[in-house]
């Protein structure tokens, strides 16, 4: 078979000294779906950015259909017939679908005026050809994420992409949406397109890919036909050791209600109701998972529970005390810990030292300071202890946090939040974007906290994580708790999907 893309000895080093690709060699055959899997930080996204001209490698050669190329910008990659669907979709939210599709290549009248009719015709032609349905006249911001993604794919096809790169396309989709996507991808393959598909969901890889390449630590570990590899093989090659996908053991002891949310509602500045009459409770010694597609009110809910946002109505009780109108510090002092969804925005000050990040919630307390003067001797001791206990790989506690890898930055956050003797832990996407090794550690820390009697609220878009950790599961859709599962054993993502999409709701 003909080779669509061939990479030879690609080396990429980022300005901070991270070597993302170490002499990578890879061949992508034409008219196949080629999955690239690996842990976060394995170098797969970097590799895709190099193919698409977003990043330039320091060394190595790229051949597209046998021709040597050097892309300095994505424009050049697009001209060579490469299209990319980014994980964070790159669409103009306020423009309509058809405007987005033809952006930059709009048909014009007299070279200056938009030819709306021609724009529509062009879009329709492609919709028919590839059987990817999208509502042309709707604005992007009105569409659900699955449809937005379809627009992105179509946009690439409209630019005559022969080779499509999809960067973790299913991360934001429900199981049902994923199925639709896969049907489209198979159709595209039939029509002669080459598809590169990045994922770390092994089930999907087995389902859709013809070929699989496994990356680890910046290198290609193996490339083989998907049929020759089992899920288990892939996982082992990815991580470099055996991994368990099993659920953590059940809570041994469930105690009193520690967190109680009562008739909580929230209207945002545009007067849109983001949270609708939310009720639930979390008991000591249990993990309650909140499953849902991102953007259904989870962020707002977490911010209200931790004092970063004010509820419009309703009450939140921590150990019986109402926290509405209390400051973040007061809430923290009542024993609430918060692992934020965006660690770089909220979780750390990336240019500050590791130790300065570890004390941000306790620097004013006894031992850490006296009469307003910091006691560095004690701070250093306590910080070194946390670094050891939580297995943080850092050059030293004096190093700035941005010298650490993503997984270790998250461990800094987790170390701080779990070492404050919390009664209630609000964990939002606690393992997002970190490697499998760190993920396992963080999950174990959360489990240990649960076993020592903490009440944990786990908010995650990753269903596997929810299913692995939760004692009970609540599904949130459009600002409402639409379903609660009291027994998690035996549940799968497919059971949760219809509720997450709003197709079904509980009694």
């Amino acid at each position: 078979m003909a080779i669509a893309i061939s990479l030879r000895d690609i080396v990429k080093v980022y300005p901070n000294g991270v070597v993302a690709n170490k002499k990578v060699n890879l061949d992508i055959e034409e008219k196949t779906i080629h999955a690239i899997v690996g842990e976060n930080g394995a170098g797969k996204s970097t590799l895709m950015k190099i193919i698409f001209g977003v990043e330039m490698p320091q060394e190595g050669e790229i051949y597209v259909k046998g021709k040597k190329v050097t892309f300095k910008t994505p424009m050049e990659a697009i001209k060579s017939g490469i299209g990319m669907v980014h994980q964070h979709l790159m669409l103009a939210e306020d423009l309509t679908v058809v405007e987005n599709l033809t952006l930059g290549i709009e048909p014009r009248k007299f070279k200056i005026f938009l030819d709306k009719k021609e724009m529509n015709n062009l879009a329709k032609k492609y919709i028919e050809k590839y059987k990817i349905e999208v509502p042309l006249e709707k604005k992007i911001k009105e569409l659900p994420i699955g449809l937005k993604q379809r627009v992105e794919i179509l946009k690439a096809l409209l630019r005559n992409a022969d080779i499509l790169i999809l960067d973790e396309p299913t991360a934001v989709l429900t199981p049902q949406e994923t199925e639709v996507l896969f049907k489209s991808l198979k159709e595209l393959k039939e029509q002669g397109k080459t598809i590169i598909f990045i994922s770390h969901k092994l089930k999907e890889v087995k389902e859709i890919a013809d070929k699989v390449t496994i990356m680890r630590d910046g290198k290609v570990i193996a490339t083989d036909d998907a049929s020759n590899l089992s899920e288990h093989d892939i996982a082992r090659l990815m991580v470099g050791r055996e991994v368990s996908f099993e659920r953590i053991e059940e809570s041994r002891h469930i105690g009193n209600v520690a967190l109680k949310v009562e008739n909580l509602s929230y209207f945002n500045r545009e007067k849109i109701q983001v949270l609708k009459n939310i009720n639930f409770e979390v008991r000591e010694g249990e993990i309650v998972g909140i499953a849902g597609v991102e953007g259904n009110g989870q962020t707002e809910l977490v911010e209200i529970l931790t004092g970063l946002r004010e509820a419009s109505s309703g009450a939140v009780y921590v150990l019986g005390q109402n926290i509405v109108n209390k400051s973040v510090r007061e809430i923290r002092e009542m024993g609430v810990s918060h692992i934020p969804e965006d660690r770089m925005k909220n979780g750390v000050a990336d240019k500050a030292k590791v130790k300065e990040n570890l004390i941000s919630d306790r620097y004013y307390k006894n031992n850490f300071s006296k009469m307003g003067i910091l006691n560095y001797e004690y701070i250093d001791g306590a910080s070194n202890e946390l670094v050891k206990r939580f297995n943080i790989l850092a050059p030293s506690i004096e190093a700035p946090v941005n010298a650490l890898s993503g997984g270790n930055i998250q461990k800094v956050v987790v170390a701080r939040e779990l070492s404050s003797n919390p009664k209630v832990i609000i964990a939002s996407q606690p393992v997002r974007g970190i490697d499998v090794g760190s993920e396992e550690l963080v999950h174990n820390f959360i489990k240990d906290a649960r076993d020592s009697g903490c009440a944990v609220l786990l908010v995650s878009a990753d269903l596997d994580e929810i299913l692995k950790l939760s004692t009970r599961i609540l599904v949130i859709y459009n600002g409402e708790i639409v379903k609660s599962f009291d027994k998690v054993e035996g549940l799968t993502g497919v059971d949760l999907g219809p509720y997450m999409l709003g197709l079904k709701r509980g009694e």
């Binding site: 979780g347 750390v348 941000s360 004013y364």
Partner: protein, 361 residues
């Protein structure tokens, strides 16, 4: 070697920036001067030519150090408070007025000095509080606020001095002379280096200790590093914004009054002296670190005095020194300057590391 370069990259970059600035200035002098060798001597060695010129450097550095600290503290909290200029001025004016009003009490010298400096510090705190509060409460733009407040400070001060404390016996617009007990002693003969300089040096260390060793300093820096993180951690951001401006104001206020008490002995400014802006410059060069700011202030003062000597003794105009100053500051503050060199070294080092491990394993 390469590891060394990476570690001290900022320092090396600053030195290279200064060197390039010097090379450009040397070329400029060669272009405009008939006797360029002598001119270079005046510019670079002139400031060290006599005790009194060295004294000039220190005298000039004193108010710049105060203002640099006053700017650095709010800058550390990412509050772009450029109000040191106005705070310096209005505190000096009100301090002078206050000193003249309580003159009749005949306080003993030391107490009198302390009371007046405290008053000036409080005035500075008040003038720093205004933009801090407005920013925290109404999210007003700090730069615009403090720029406008500089004008307000200027006109209020001029009004106060010219209409209420003007010495009509003097042949020009100025306040009454301060009583002698209030003078800050000039303690090195042939110079005007005064006790205020010692206060400035003490302020450097106090400010350093404050920023890096107190809980409030920690809060200020964390808000500056990442505002969202500070809020999430439970730090009272409102308080930090107000206090960082207020505390910066104290240093500007004391600096203004010390300048009056140490050098001029009366309030004789009729226009803003510009020390606040110099303070911005040294705060940026010194990365908001009080100790580095002190060195930056000496460096800036050295450049200025060199320029004055040059102007006095050669055919090179004083304006040239502003050009040189601007070039050096531009190079130092341009963060991307030499960044690609650093990148290349980083890449080389990282590759070495990565493939070394490879071959050994």
């Amino acid at each position: 070697m390469e590891k060394f370069i990476l570690k001290y990259f900022n320092l090396i970059r600053t030195i290279i920036a200064i060197l390039i600035g010097f090379i450009i200035s040397v070329s400029l002098i060669f272009l405009v001067s008939k006797d360029s060798i002598a001119a270079l001597g005046y510019l670079f060695l002139g400031p060290f030519g006599s005790i009194s010129r060295i004294g000039n450097i220190v005298e000039l550095a004193t108010p710049i150090i105060f203002c640099g600290i006053a700017i650095a503290i709010p800058f550390q909290a990412q509050q772009f408070n450029v109000g040191a200029e106005g705070t310096f001025f209005i505190s000096a004016a009100f301090g002078t007025a206050f000193a003249l009003i309580i003159q009749g009490l005949n306080l003993p010298g030391f107490i009198y000095i302390l009371v007046v400096l405290t008053f000036a510090g409080l005035m500075g705190a008040f003038w720093g509080f205004i933009p801090g509060y407005l920013k925290a409460k109404y999210r007003a733009n700090m730069v615009v606020l403090t720029l406008m407040l500089n004008y307000i400070a200027y006109f209020i001060s001029i009004y106060l001095i010219n209409y209420h404390f003007r010495d009509k016996a003097a042949g020009y617009l100025t306040s009454y002379r301060l009583p002698e007990t209030l003078f800050l002693k000039q303690f090195i003969p042939n110079t005007r280096i005064h006790i205020g300089f010692l206060i400035a040096i003490a302020s450097v260390f106090i400010a350093y200790y404050f920023l890096y060793h107190t809980t409030l300093g920690y809060e200020i820096r964390m808000v500056g590093f990442n505002f969202h993180f500070a809020k999430y951690s439970g730090i009272n951001v409102f308080k930090v914004i107000v206090l960082s401006s207020l505390i910066g104001g104290i240093f500007a206020g004391i600096g203004g009054m010390a300048e009056v008490m140490g050098i001029h002995r009366r309030f004789l400014w009729q226009s803003l002296p510009g020390y606040g802006w110099d303070g911005v410059v040294v705060a940026i060069i010194g990365h908001n670190n009080p100790i580095l700011i002190m060195f930056a202030a000496f460096f800036l003062a050295y450049l200025r005095i060199g320029g004055q000597v040059l102007n006095l003794l050669s055919d090179v105009p004083y304006e040239l020194i502003s050009v040189i100053e601007a070039i050096i500051i531009l190079l130092i503050t341009a963060e991307a300057f030499l960044e690609n060199v650093k990148y290349r070294i980083t890449v080389r080092e990282a590759e070495k590391e990565a493939f070394k491990n490879e071959s050994s394993s």
